[in-house]
């Protein structure tokens, strides 16, 4: 346990440095840099060059990546390398090494003939591989295979523009069974929640720094009590979400289908806390907060996409159902 947390702290420090170095690089170079630093194999087993650590060990990496606007499908790569380690060891090893780029379709689903349109695949136009839902499971597709076309179809996220992938009778490189796919999707949500909180904490720090330096009415704005109260409330929301998430991460292995109460609580809290804190950080920068160049909108855009995936409304509806079951006479 403590050995794990030492390693996790070391990984987080590495991530901090490497994410900053990746700024401005193309996707292939980012993959190589991350792979070299050992950040892509945190979850994958040692057999494919990974560390085989639990989900909680990699959450700090995703936090740092979201705070630092890493232009890479990181969550997708981490989880795919774990998923494919047994059945596609060569590809898993290539993912861990940063020698292959894979993305996952976040929306849509293919029909049994391996045809249809899927989308919200981050950096799809730069990727070589795609995992796309089909039925209760998924398929692995080479994006340069016959019958597959990829086009940009961006949403909010600016660093990882999403792609739409049209598939017509393609031959999958592998088929992913329902249970393994459900685990990947559930774990992806927790990591995205971690990322959104990481970004929110970062934006809040920047707002505090700005208010500390900025004087209006003859005093630093950070001394205004109204702002202090508002920041204190946001801290309550962030810390609450963080504890909910840590609990869910710690218990993730016991709930591979992703239906546990801790996971639902984490989804509901993180989906709401993270965007609200970033919105407020923009507000606290005043007119400058609304500029493209200040850049806080970039974290906001990514956090809004994460929040849509986390779907607080669905999570709460599921929780309400669980309570009814648990308290039924």
């Amino acid at each position: 346990m403590s050995e794990h947390s030492d390693i996790a702290a070391e990984i987080a420090r590495t991530a901090q440095r490497v994410v900053a170095e990746c700024d401005g690089l193309d996707t292939a170079s980012v993959a190589a840099r991350l792979g070299e630093a050992g950040l892509l194999g945190v979850l994958a087993p040692e057999a494919v060059g990974g560390l085989g650590l639990p989900l909680s060990a990699v959450a700090p990496v995703v936090e740092v990546a979201e705070a630092g606007l890493l232009a890479f499908p990181l969550v997708e790569t981490l989880l795919a390398a774990r998923l494919l380690a047994e059945t596609q060891p060569d590809l898993a090893a290539a993912l861990v090494a940063g020698e292959a780029v894979l993305t996952i379709a976040g929306a849509g689903s293919l029909s049994p003939g391996v045809s249809g349109v899927v989308g919200r695949a981050p950096l799809g136009t730069a990727a070589r591989w795609l995992l796309a839902p089909l039925g209760e499971g998924a398929v692995l597709l080479a994006l340069d295979a016959p019958g597959v076309t990829v086009a940009e179809d961006p949403g909010f996220d600016l660093e990882r523009p999403a792609a739409r992938v049209s598939v017509s009778g393609a031959t999958p490189a592998a088929t992913i069974p329902a249970a393994a796919w459900a685990t990947l999707r559930a774990d992806a949500l927790l990591l995205r929640a971690a990322g959104a909180l990481g970004a929110a904490g970062h934006c809040m720090d920047r707002a505090i720094e700005h208010l500390t330096g900025r004087r209006q009415f003859g005093r630093p704005l950070v001394t205004m009590q109204g702002l202090r109260f508002s920041l204190a409330r946001q801290k309550i929301a962030l810390e609450g979400a963080r504890h909910a998430l840590e609990h869910a991460l710690a218990l993730a292995g016991q709930d591979p289908q992703g239906e546990s109460v801790p996971r639902l609580v984490a989804r509901a809290t993180c989906a709401e806390a993270a965007p609200a804190v970033i919105e407020s950080a923009i507000q606290l920068h005043g007119g400058m907060g609304f500029t493209w160049d200040l850049g806080l909108h970039r974290q906001l855009r990514r956090a809004k996409e994460a929040a849509a995936a986390l779907d607080a409304v669905a999570a709460r509806a599921a929780l309400a159902g669980r309570l009814e079951e648990a308290w039924a006479l």
């Binding site: 929306a107 209006q216 003859g218 923009i282 007119g287 609304f290 500029t291 493209w292 779907d311």
Partner: protein
């Protein structure tokens, strides 16, 4: 508003006429709810707004002598309700028509009114508002841009920032310091500066939506002719406060009705999509949509009340802060809800859903500014505490 005003107009017939004209004349692809939405270019917008003025949609309550239609704010409200009902392009000169115009009517000389006002309505002169500075935002009275005498004229040196529309404007409603820094708000004067001159540099700034709608404006010995000084010297603060009251209270009076149009667009789009229609049945979503409707109704009442007070000869005072604050926060909640709903659409989405996603993603980002401009949330709350509740103040603030 003036003795030349002829009220006693048939409100029902007036509304029907305005509604019919807009229905007939608004180009379909300029509607923000259109699948093939394409906003007008600046030249198209200028021509359109000049037409709107001729057809009686702008300058409604301004006297006829200055190009207005000589009606009252009641007709202005009716027209704005009709404008709001349609997803029409925003005015490129709302600062001229809705901020500069009223202040010119209130404090300018007869000669200035005749020179400035028709040019605003005919879209020959677009105005911008040069108040905020890098070091003076919420604390506007700390502004540093200086105006110094040069014979009868003035020379301007300094910098403004976040100046909306300065890149397309011909004139700037400029608040500058004619007194000392120590005098704070007592040393400020208002000018109608011409932007097209060597001493002025305008640099657009890109916003989080991707558009460059506001600017930095630099003044290096820029000239203001004597006939472009507005009101009395050193009385600029009182005038600026009035500008801000108008900005919060009566500016873009159609907002409540446009807000309702947006809600209608959202709900009808969701209803037409089977999966989103099911989401609309979720009780928490229904509650939130109903709350948006409540917010809209309250906003309409606040606006209508303001109009009644003004028509009755009263002043807006701090009360504009009530509707500004209510609208900005309610509209942010709405835009966030719209995005939240539409992002749950099945993939690939219909062209209608995709068009709505584009509209409301942008509206969501845009809405972040609504609690910043025209005085931030924190400043509006302060105004309500000071000027409406009149709470006693201690030493610290």
């Amino acid at each position: 508003m003036s003795a030349a005003a002829t009220p006693a107009i048939d409100a029902v017939a007036y509304r029907a006429r305005q509604r019919a004209w807009l229905a007939e004349n608004l180009p379909p692809h300029w509607r923000a709810d259109a699948v093939d939405y394409r906003p007008p270019s600046l030249d198209e917008a200028k021509a359109w707004e000049a037409t709107l003025h001729r057809e009686g949609f702008w300058g409604i309550a301004w006297p006829r002598d200055y190009g207005g239609h000589g009606l009252t704010l009641r007709e202005h409200l009716i027209s704005n309700q009709e404008i709001g009902r349609l997803p029409m392009p925003e005015s490129q000169n709302s600062i001229g028509k809705e901020l500069a115009g009223p202040i010119i009517l209130a404090i300018a000389t007869e000669e200035q009114k005749r020179r400035y006002l028709p040019a605003i309505l005919e879209m020959r002169e677009i105005w911008c508002q040069g108040f905020s500075e890098p070091e003076a935002g919420s604390d506007l009275a700390g502004l540093r841009t200086r105006a110094t005498r040069d014979g009868a004229a003035w020379r301007i040196n300094g910098q403004k920032v976040w100046t909306s529309g300065a890149h397309r404007a011909q004139r700037c409603l400029l608040l500058a310091r004619t007194g000392t820094m120590e005098e704070r708000h007592k040393g400020l004067s208002l000018f109608a500066l011409k932007l097209d001159q060597p001493g002025v540099t305008v640099r657009p700034l890109r916003q989080i939506t991707g558009d460059a709608e506001y600017c930095e404006v630099f003044f290096d010995n820029a000239l203001v002719e004597p006939e472009d000084a507005l009101g009395e010297p050193a009385k600029g603060w009182a005038a600026a406060v009035r500008v801000l009251e108008v900005e919060r209270g009566t500016n873009r009076m159609y907002r409540g009705w446009r807000f309702e149009e947006q809600l209608r667009h959202l709900v009808t789009t969701c209803r037409a999509d089977p999966a989103l229609a099911r989401l609309l049945e979720d009780s928490s979503i229904r509650q939130r949509i109903a709350q948006v409707q409540v917010d809209i109704e309250v906003l309409k009442r606040l606006v209508e009340q303001t109009v009644e007070v003004l028509v009755g000869g009263g002043s807006i005072g701090g009360h504009g802060s009530l509707s500004k604050q209510h609208w900005s926060e309610a509209h942010q909640r709405f835009a966030a809800l719209a995005v939240e709903l539409l992002e749950q659409a099945p993939y690939p989405a219909s062209p209608e859903v995709e068009a709505a996603q584009r509209r409301f993603r942008k509206a969501y980002l845009q809405s972040r500014a609504q609690t910043i401009y025209a005085g931030t949330t924190e400043i509006q709350l302060g105004i309500i505490a000071d000027r409406i509740l009149k709470l006693p103040r201690g030493e610290a603030r």
